[in-house]
């Protein structure tokens, strides 16, 4: 059993335990707990990162820009400005005298050199402390260069990653509503919260196109400023990764009256349901028929292959630790589809409702955890004798050190895991992790003896 810090006891729950308290969550991480979370800046950077025709400039010392250079797998079909790392690289004298002049000069030179459609300026920890008026600099450059130059108030200490999402959405809201909306079909949507990792947005877009739905903007997946400007002309906002984008959807509902719905593109059931939900929203019989056709074609193609993987994976145990809890729901059901049991599930930023729902869908004894850390996670993996751990780069070495399979389901992944095809990739990846012969050599399976195994 894990040594769980006293301050964190209420953030860990075992389904079926006698003293089932509501899970504590949405709190600042406990000092010294070695949380897997990043910070406000990270939240903003994640959301805005895939906007490929904007210059993203990190205002602060070099670290924040270094650690986020080309870090994610968000693909672009055109410009790739998002894959460059720009920083004001503040030095000691800037800290003393303020960084405004440097920011102004950096913005001007980068805009002149790269001709972006917009610029995002990420304020990091010390910017607020040294008193830079980022807003004023952005306004000035915007006037001079004739493009939106948007401050993102993402000082690392000003809350959690979720506050960073909000700061990013605030910046986006300044762009939405500034473009023309003529020629937008009444059967149209914005795709929110898909980041086009390994081209996932393109797959999703293709399903919608086949349904007869016009996609006005993907906001954050293969994102373009001109599309975002027109986003308010869409008839519906379809929100994945609800933790980051619900705020934007709600704001657009208030401001432009656009309804929104939550979807998930992971797993066969959730993917199909998403398309059906959109079709039903438009109350268009032909569209519904087309959707049924798409789902049928895709399922006929992948179900037999999934069945093969299921044979091998039946009864294997999985653990999940992801950023947003919403993704975890889909993963639990996708794993179940492969015959696997989820014995531990957690997230960095889940809400009370999220954890309530997880408790509903998980089996007895499943560990549910909020804002966990390496010592807890490793002890859960050991206790539950997990076969495959699903998480991000920071979770990977925990699994590997213990000789446990791992599947990257975070923003660094190179395999498309969304959509029908993505489910097949996911199954293939889990299968490849669980079935590798290397585990048979690990101390976990056979100790450290050099004895020759007959």
């Amino acid at each position: 059993m894990a040594d769980i810090l006293r301050e964190r006891e209420r953030q860990v729950h075992r389904k079926g335990q006698a003293n089932a308290l509501p899970l504590d969550c949405e709190k600042q991480s406990v000092a010294g707990s070695v949380s897997q979370r990043a910070c406000v800046f990270c939240g903003s950077r994640v959301v805005l990162y895939p906007i490929a025709d904007a210059v993203h400039i990190v205002h602060g010392p070099i670290g924040c820009a270094s650690y986020t250079w080309d870090i994610r797998g968000a693909l672009s079909s055109g410009p790739e400005l998002h894959r460059l790392s720009f920083s004001t690289d503040l030095h000691e004298l800037d800290v003393v005298h303020g960084g405004e002049k440097k920011l102004y000069a950096a913005l001007c030179e980068l805009i002149d050199a790269h001709h972006p459609k917009a610029a995002f300026v990420y304020a990091t920890c010390i910017v607020g402390v040294i008193g830079d008026d980022v807003e004023a600099v952005c306004k000035r450059v915007s006037l001079e260069k004739g493009i939106p130059v948007l401050p993102v108030h993402s000082e690392g200490f000003k809350g959690t990653k979720k506050d960073g999402y909000r700061a990013a959405c605030d910046a986006l809201l300044q762009i939405v509503g500034t473009g023309p909306t003529e020629e937008i079909s009444p059967l149209s949507i914005n795709i929110l919260g898909d980041f086009n990792l390994a081209g996932e947005t393109w797959m999703i877009r293709d399903y919608y196109a086949r349904m007869g739905v016009q996609v006005v903007s993907c906001i954050t997946g293969d994102g373009r400023i001109d599309e975002i400007r027109r986003a308010h002309g869409a008839a519906l906002n379809v929100v994945q990764c609800s933790g980051s984008m619900t705020y934007l959807a709600k704001s657009m509902k208030e401001k432009y009256g656009i309804p929104f719905m939550r979807v998930s593109y992971f797993g066969v059931e959730d993917m199909s349901k998403s398309l059906y939900d959109v079709a039903r929203h438009f109350k268009d019989k032909e569209m519904l028929k087309r959707t049924q056709g798409i789902v049928r074609t895709e399922l006929e193609r992948i179900i037999p292959q999934l069945a093969e993987y299921k044979k091998a994976l039946q009864g294997k145990r999985a653990a999940i630790y992801v950023g947003g809890a919403f993704k975890a729901f889909s993963l639990v059901s996708a794993l179940r589809h492969l015959g696997m049991t989820t014995v531990m599930v957690g997230s960095q930023t889940g809400s009370k409702e999220d954890y309530g729902e997880l408790r509903e869908i998980c089996d007895e004894g499943t560990i549910i955890v909020d804002d966990s850390n390496p010592l807890e996670l490793s002890s859960f993996l050991e206790e539950k004798d997990v076969d495959v751990f699903i998480g991000g780069v920071k979770e990977r070495p925990i699994a590997y050190k213990l000789g446990i399979g791992f599947c990257d389901h975070n923003h660094e992944r190179k395999e498309a895991l969304a959509g029908f095809e993505g489910m097949l990739n996911f199954a293939r990846e889990v299968y490849g992790s669980v079935m590798s012969p290397v585990w048979q050599l690990t101390p976990r399976k056979r100790g450290n003896s050099l004895e020759v195994v007959k």
Partner: protein, 466 residues
Amino acid sequence: MSSQPRATNRVPPPNWVSTRNPCKACAPLGAALVMRGIAGAVPFLHGSQGCATYMRRYLISHFREPMDIATSGFSEATTIFGGGANLRQGLQNVTSQYHPELIGIATTCLTETIGEDMHGLLHEYRKMKEGTPSPALVHVSTPSYTGTHIDGFHDAVRSVVEQLAEAGATPSAYVDRFLNMFPGMVSTEDLRFLKDVAKDFAVPVTLFPDYSETLDGPSMEKYEKIPEGGTTIAQLRATPSAKASLELGRTLRTKNTAASYLQEHFNVPAKRIGLPIGVHETDIFFAAMEKLTGHKTPDKYREERGRLIDAYVDGHKYLFGKRAIVFGDEDMVVGLTSLLAEIGVIPVLCASGGKSGALARSIAEVTTHVRGTVAVRDGVDFMTMAEETQMKDLKPDFLIGSSKGAKLARELRVPLIRVGFPIHDRVGGQRILHLGYRGAQQLFDLVVNTLLEVKQDSSSIGYSYL
């Protein structure tokens, strides 16, 4: 005929204000790495939650090992009222979770800017814990707005030594007079090499930091809260009793280092040489070891040297006149440049994001035999390197440096030979041996084979024998 390399500033690049595709990380990262090289230690960053997480991720992508870094996790209130309470809570929680022997605390840009009094805060904490068993606390000031991860690394080495050194302390394990060795930021395999050399010279050594095991450990049945290995606190306390300190890195001449501290305060003679990369620099290293220990270089190394030079001869034709861009951490760049220079490759551009002020001079020292011009750039980023390559028509045949150069190599359509730190798009980066004759052998083979591969792949005939 040999010509001295000249600094080439004939076509000054435009004076960019921004840093574009950085060739450096920030200071606390280097400090956290050093703390991971102390036995039973947990690295701790005093600042925002994100710093620890980003640096963990960055280090994990290179070492592919668990890398726990704790943090005091600043909030808005902490930033206004000071981080004392968070620091206390953080230290207590790390103590109760990890049971460490030492917590190595590094500051960040945020805590330095708001002017946290670390001495005072830690003094208070120690007083509060008086009488109860508590881990040793060391701290280093690493404002991210000053220097790079390499500065953070060396500052941490010095701070730890300063805070733990005790005159007269001797580790019982050492029967003979021992050496301090400060290797700089090298690979886990390099650290193992240095320990082997010390063993072969029959001299006890305090190698600091030593993350050869903590960041390159075996597969485990049970998760280790703090991985085995590292320089022990007893060893660090005894550094003033060493017969000498050997520190690696020519560019350290402009820094106040652990070795210079021990010399100044405890009269421990300090010997500074370059990273032993290539024959010349490794010869200097073994000469220093002979002098410091009074023992002759074991035959094993003479044999390695012999084989290396034989290999140089076998491969020289494939290399002569080839042009390379060398980039990365300054001392790594100096070492690699020395190796390239002695095998006939022209290092047309030696570049680093670091700015010790000693790069040009150090490069000049190791390139006296180079025919051609060596451009040296410190404090640069990758886009500046790209512009310089184009502007000066450098026509490199290959790049040698960290994974961070992958984009530049792709643009230039030349191979990138991955060495140094970080290597996050290949496996085994943490295990590359750069040092010693054997390290040079591996690098040499890698360089030659990379060029042969290009030659073979681009040939319409595709000769089977090259």
